[in-house]
Symmetry: C4
Subunit: 271 residues, 4 copies
Amino acid sequence: MCANLSGWYLQGRLTVNSAYNTSWYFGPNALALARKNMTYVSIRQEAHSANIAIVEAGLVVLTWGNASVADRQHGVIAIKPSGVSYSDLSPETMVIVSIETGEVVEGEHHPSSDTPTHLELYRAFPDVGAVVHTHSRYAVAFAQAKKPIQCQGTTHADNFRYDIPVTRSMTESEVSADYEAATGRVIAETFRERQLDPGEVPGVLVANHGPFAWGEDAQKAVENAIVLEEVSRMDLYTLTIKPDSGPAPQYLIDKHYLRKHGSGAYYGQTR
Amino acid sequence: MCANLSGWYLQGRLTVNSAYNTSWYFGPNALALARKNMTYVSIRQEAHSANIAIVEAGLVVLTWGNASVADRQHGVIAIKPSGVSYSDLSPETMVIVSIETGEVVEGEHHPSSDTPTHLELYRAFPDVGAVVHTHSRYAVAFAQAKKPIQCQGTTHADNFRYDIPVTRSMTESEVSADYEAATGRVIAETFRERQLDPGEVPGVLVANHGPFAWGEDAQKAVENAIVLEEVSRMDLYTLTIKPDSGPAPQYLIDKHYLRKHGSGAYYGQTR
Amino acid sequence: MCANLSGWYLQGRLTVNSAYNTSWYFGPNALALARKNMTYVSIRQEAHSANIAIVEAGLVVLTWGNASVADRQHGVIAIKPSGVSYSDLSPETMVIVSIETGEVVEGEHHPSSDTPTHLELYRAFPDVGAVVHTHSRYAVAFAQAKKPIQCQGTTHADNFRYDIPVTRSMTESEVSADYEAATGRVIAETFRERQLDPGEVPGVLVANHGPFAWGEDAQKAVENAIVLEEVSRMDLYTLTIKPDSGPAPQYLIDKHYLRKHGSGAYYGQTR
Amino acid sequence: MCANLSGWYLQGRLTVNSAYNTSWYFGPNALALARKNMTYVSIRQEAHSANIAIVEAGLVVLTWGNASVADRQHGVIAIKPSGVSYSDLSPETMVIVSIETGEVVEGEHHPSSDTPTHLELYRAFPDVGAVVHTHSRYAVAFAQAKKPIQCQGTTHADNFRYDIPVTRSMTESEVSADYEAATGRVIAETFRERQLDPGEVPGVLVANHGPFAWGEDAQKAVENAIVLEEVSRMDLYTLTIKPDSGPAPQYLIDKHYLRKHGSGAYYGQTR
């Protein structure tokens, strides 16, 4: 299958949908999980689906990406194991970690080395149900240039109400002490200090590193990661055509954002 | 299947052709439509084919695109339902809307939220038989830079006789009052004020939004949407090589345009 | 199948190889040709293979490309019919045209509207056995910028010994009189006036139009068209990194060119 | 299959993995090799897998790439034959060459014309177990611009601890005397004079030519070749967004590099 970004929009979309086809999953995997007395079946399946979906979206190079899904009721997340090839992933290989303590609750593997970053985001943003981290190339370029992804049009406005910010550079002590947790704290600091709502801006660029995106559930977090990469790409092209190109009028941005979000939304089949 | 732009030119072309293979369609779909007492079979099929074709062309991200086809005799269009995944589309899910009143004449879904834009185009441009809207990334970049797609060569000239214009920015009152209809009116205004023939320039960029393309029928509208994206891409590359690159000589542009259009055309198998 | 350029390098290569698998072709096609009393079987098959190969290489948008192959002994070429979808092509649909008179010798279709350009090249360059024309996007960008593709490295040097030139702009009278033939004449003029050997520089950019490439046979002409596009792409990236980047040393270029060409060649399995 | 870079990250990864599935290989190939009394089975298989993997990674245009694998115990390498289409490669077609003398020890074909370059690298870098050379387009662009690939972020830092250097231009006498061996010597000189550890910077750009990458084994060398191309691409985009963009803080780079390398590594499943 072709996993380049445009291919994904067709292929990956189907993948995400089918990944949520419970019958397909609930069969073999549930048995496998049962055999191993594993629980948290649902978030294991959603985390696995999300990790596969970001690969098929072309957002992931080698093993440079990870997705997690939260079970807020039980205070745990399911997250990708560290450095395992995507072809070897399954719901059983997902690792269950406590949001509060960071300890592994269930699972045979080490969790992603980025787990402390995910945990800090779940702690700081109580409405977030899933987190996606990739090194998607256009978003990484903006992170390396330490330049926010400016909201230049309605494509951006449909999912992100404002510019997508870049964190400050982390200090040497933050990096040496507890790097991954500090990464999550500097993201939370970015939103707190700029008074941004993580629901209205469901993603961020970590300086000299790359993007994190999130959402109320796995499918929304994956979608936001795709949109973040796509608008990065469009923004780069816009800057190539017109280096001093400015943002779209805020009233146009708000119109598009509010067509899809909140009580006045009139996009889609639900009214 | 690989739906990246270059892939499409091979794959998508075949798809468009086979989509117009009536026997393939007329079978199951006609039955399904008959079972539901649905009419406007032909434009339902063409609108469905066009919506699938723009996805396979790699012009569509997630659900950011929609195509409609007109039945001028009955004064209606068939258009994509709003926010429905392309994998769930079929001729039956297309929505039939009155060009004059904008009311849903037949269909179980809400029509695309961009329907009022399509309707304004059908009202303003009487020879248009199909309309395509996408967020294809190179065209969006020019729309965000608010820079017309300059006619720099014969690739552009084969389908578009002049530069592809950008609309003026819409006012806050236009956006707040009836945004989607106003988008169509500002496109019509652009062509009226610049005295452009929508037959000679079958596409436009809406400022800070993206491209609309059209044609006498669905296949031509899809082709024009592909060409619009392709020449946007070539134009961006040309500007990268030579930022002050100018247009091609108009006599060369006219020559290529008229090889394919009008009474003197001598391209293809018909003479 | 995925026809993007990188995909092609794997896929297309196999395709070209298999296209030259005579047993595969000689079977059904020879029968079909025999039934229609068609001759020039070999060049019909090679021209068909070349036209399919440039599509699978991702060099062709819609129907914007054509390839021809010469039978010098009989003074004819086989060329793609005009405006026919690639999915409808076969060796039988190729059109046989006289190099000297330009008249159709055998075939049911109109030849490509660019046939007079191909014929001028066969007349001006007696060692050329096949010609390929595309609108491949990176090469078109240089043609639109009217900037030669500078030989900046060994990738270029392996197939093209010097910069790939751009023709002068054609005059209004050339365009209005016999445009396609004049296009071929201005290419020949470019090589004559700059004293370039079409064997050492097997391609050119026509100002505000696009690339033509050629070779001793169909497979070599297709390869040169691919290399022309690839080095255009590398050159554009090089200019993005370093706008004033200069050429590679000529002694390095000559070394690479002569590793593969002439009596001193030592690349490949033949010595 | 789709071999574009993003596709590769999923497809190619699986390919590399499966290529190392000994049972799959050891069966037929071992028999074929036995029939021909061939030895060095393991490095023949690994070299074949690596040559296929770089094609599926989209790193290779036409036949512009080659990989070799060393058997240090016996002082030989297995390397791709010269100018043979990737579709015709098999473990049997790999050529066994002596590292010390450069003579063909076993094999029916001429070895890659770049063999002397590979040999110089094995001689200069005793810990290198495999070498990969491609003309991957983003890396070639930096080689043509003679600009190092700057370490601007954690993506680069995970595999390369410092900037990826460009060699000096080779002299006319180096090129005329023994070009390919001199290419290897100028790479070794680059690392020696800049006191770079080829283990910490497992790749280089040869001025006006392209990239070479290496690693302790075939899979690692292929991975480094992919990362080299990917960070070239990200670096080009970063320079497009911010032409004067600087490097990431060295303490961040070291942190990421040391998460994956050395005694303190804590990435992956091994601790």
